[in-house]
Amino acid sequence: MAVNQAKPIKDLGEVRKLIKEHKRNDFIFAAVGMFVIASLTITLVILFLDLFFDGYPRFGIDFFTSYPSRKAIQAGILSAWVGSSLVLLVTFLVAVPLGIAAGVYLEEYAKKNWLSDLIEINVSNLAGVPSIIYGLLALGLFVYSFDLGQSILTAGLTLALLMLPIVIVSTREAIRAIPVHIREAAFAVGATKWQVVLNHVIPYSYGGILTGVIIGMARAIGETAPVITIGALTFIAFLPPSPVGAEIPFVNFDWLESGFTVLPIQMFNWISRPQYEFHVNAAAVGAVIIILTAIMNGFAIKLRYNVRKKIKW
C-alpha cells in the first residue's frame, strides 16, 4: 500500500495532523454507519406503528369472528385466518418431511457424483426463483393438469414447494455441524446408516432444522403473489368443511378441495379498494400478519442463538 509515498512527511506536526485526519474519517464513518442502522431500525418501528395506529379501530373480537363484508365496519377475517391455518397445515405436512429427507440424503448418503451435483445446483437455484413463478407453476400444473382447482390443497402444495429449499438448506447446515466421531461411535457399536441418522443425526440437529422450518412457515404466512396467481377468490364468506367430524372416522378431507382465502390476500383485497374504511381493515390485517411473522421469526432467531450457545462437541 503506497499510501504516503507521494508526499514525503517533513515534520512531526504534519504527521500529527495526518493521524488526526484519519482518526476523524474513522469517527465519521462510524457515525454514518450507526446513522444508517438507526434509520433502518426506525423504519421498521414506523412500519409496525403505522399499521397498529391505522388498524387500531378494528381490533376486537368481532374482527376475528366475522366474514368479509361489503360494509367495511362489519367486515372481519374469520375466513382468512381459518384459510391460512388450513393452507399452512398442508404446507407443513408436505414440505417438512420432504425437505428433511432431501437434506439428510444430500449430507449423509449422497456420493460425490453428477446426480448429487445436479440436485445441489437445483436446490440453490430454486431458492432464487421469484415466488410468483411458483404461482404460475401451480396454475399450469396443479390447477389445470392435475385438476385440483383453486383449492386449499393447491395453495398448500404451492407454498410447500416455495418452502422446500429453506428446509433443505437449514437441515443440511444443522447436520453438517455434527462432528464425524458421533457417527463413527454409532457405527462402531453396529448401528446401520439409517439407525445412525434416526437416533443420532436428526435428534442432534433438531434445533437447527426447527429454526429453518419456523422461518419457512413465517414466510409462507405472508406469501401473497403465488396464491393470487393460482386464482384464489378474494371474497369468501364461508368456512371450509371441518377437518374433524362427529362421526367415524372422525376426520374428513373435503376441506382440501374447498375454496379459500388467506390473510395476505384479504389484506391485498382491502388495500385495492378506494374507500378509506377498507384501508383501516387492511392495516388491521397487516398488523395481525406482522405480529404472527415477527413472533415466529423472533422465536427462530432466539432458538438458533440458543442452539449455537448450547452445543459444544
Binding site: 462510524a30 432464487g128 410468483i132 404460475l136
Partner: protein, 310 residues
C-alpha cells in the same frame, strides 16, 4: 457366520435378519433419494409448464414483436404484446431500489463487519432478520399509504400510483440481503490481513476500504446481483403501489406495471384457460424466469471466478 451357513446349508436366522436389515436400508435410502430428486423435478416442472404454455402464445405473437414492441395492450381491441412496456417498469423500480439499497446495505455491512463490537452485531443482525421477515404485501401497504403521501408533500405532482415510492420501499426491503451476504464475505477475509494493515498504522476505515472491501469484492458484487434478482422478481410492493397499467416509461414519477404486477392483475380477473390472456402471463413469467436465472448464474460465476484464495 459364513462357515456356519455352509455347514448347515440353511440360512441362519442371523443372516436372514441381516438380509432384511440391508433390504430396509436400501428402501429407506431410495426414499431419501426420491425426496432429493424432487428438487430437480420442481425445476423441470417450472420450465416445462412455462415453456409449454408460452409456445402457443408465440405462435400468435412473433418473438421479434414480443421483444421489440413497446406497447402491451392485451385487453384492448387492438391487442399488442410488447414486453418492453413491462420490462421498463421492472427495470425502473429495480434501479430505484438499488439506489437505496446498495449504499445503505454496503455501509451496514462494513459497519457490522469492521466497526461494531460483538454485542452490537448480535443486536443488529436479528433486527435485519426481522426486516427480511416482513411480508411484502405489508411493505406494499407501507409504500402506498405512507411513503407515497410523504413524497407527495415534497413533489406535489406525484400520482397516487408511481414507481418512486415502491422503488424506495423495495430498496429498504433488500438492504438486509446485501448487508448479510456482504458482511459474510468481509468476515471471511482472514484476520491476518487486518492485522497487517493495522500494523502499518492504518485506521479501521482505511483497513475496511483499502484492504477488506477489495479482498471481499466477489462476495459484495454477488450480493448486489442477488439483490437485483430479488427486486426484479418482487411482486406485491409494485402490484399494490406502482399501478397495474402497462406503460413504456423510465420516469419514476409515472405509474407503470412491472412483469410481476401484470401477472397479478391478469390472475385477479377471470382467467379463460387456454385463451391468449392466460398464455400471455406464462410468456411474461418465462421472461422473468430467464432474467432472474441469468442474474443467479452471473452471481454464482462472479463468486467462483473472482473469489480470493488465501
Amino acid at each position: 457366520m459364513a462357515t456356519k451357513v455352509m455347514q448347515d446349508l440353511v440360512i441362519s436366522p442371523e443372516l436372514a435378519k441381516n438380509f432384511r436389515r440391508n433390504f430396509t436400508e436400501k428402501i429407506i435410502e431410495f426414499g431419501l433419494l426420491f425426496s432429493a430428486v424432487f428438487a430437480v423435478f420442481i425445476t423441470t416442472a417450472i420450465v416445462y409448464v412455462l415453456v409449454s404454455e408460452a409456445i402457443p402464445f408465440f405462435q400468435h405473437v412473433s418473438i421479434y414483436e414480443f421483444l421489440t414492441d413497446t406497447v402491451w395492450t392485451p385487453n384492448y381491441s387492438i391487442k399488442r404484446y410488447g414486453i418492453l412496456a413491462l420490462i421498463s417498469g421492472t427495470l425502473t423500480t429495480t434501479f430505484i431500489a438499488l439506489l437505496v439499497a446498495v449504499p445503505l446495505g454496503t455501509i451496514t455491512a462494513i459497519y457490522l463487519s469492521e466497526f461494531a463490537s460483538h454485542k452490537v452485531r448480535e443486536t443488529i443482525k436479528p433486527i435485519l432478520e426481522l426486516l427480511v421477515g416482513v411480508p411484502t404485501v405489508v411493505f406494499g401497504y407501507f409504500a402506498l399509504m405512507l411513503v407515497t403521501p410523504l413524497l407527495q408533500k415534497i413533489y406535489p405532482d406525484l400520482t397516487t400510483f408511481n414507481m418512486l415510492g415502491p422503488g424506495i420501499v423495495m430498496g429498504i426491503m433488500i438492504v438486509p440481503y446485501i448487508a448479510s451476504v456482504s458482511e459474510d464475505a468481509m468476515r471471511a477475509v482472514p484476520m491476518a490481513m487486518r492485522e497487517g494493515a493495522y500494523a502499518m498504522g492504518a485506521t479501521r476505515f482505511q483497513t475496511a476500504i483499502k484492504v477488506i472491501a477489495p479482498a471481499a469484492t466477489s462476495g459484495i458484487v454477488a450480493s448486489y446481483i442477488l439483490a437485483i434478482s430479488r427486486a426484479v422478481g418482487e411482486t406485491m410492493i409494485v402490484a399494490v403501489a406502482a399501478g397495474q397499467q402497462p406503460n413504456f416509461t423510465f420516469n419514476p414519477v409515472e405509474s407503470a406495471a412491472t412483469i410481476t404486477a401484470y401477472i397479478v392483475s391478469v390472475a385477479l380477473g377471470d382467467l379463460e384457460h387456454g385463451g391468449i390472456g392466460y398464455q400471455s402471463i406464462f410468456a411474461a413469467g418465462l421472461t422473468l424466469l430467464v432474467m432472474t436465472l441469468m442474474l443467479n448464474i452471473l452471481g454464482h460465476w462472479v463468486r467462483k471466478k473472482y473469489a480470493e484464495r488465501y
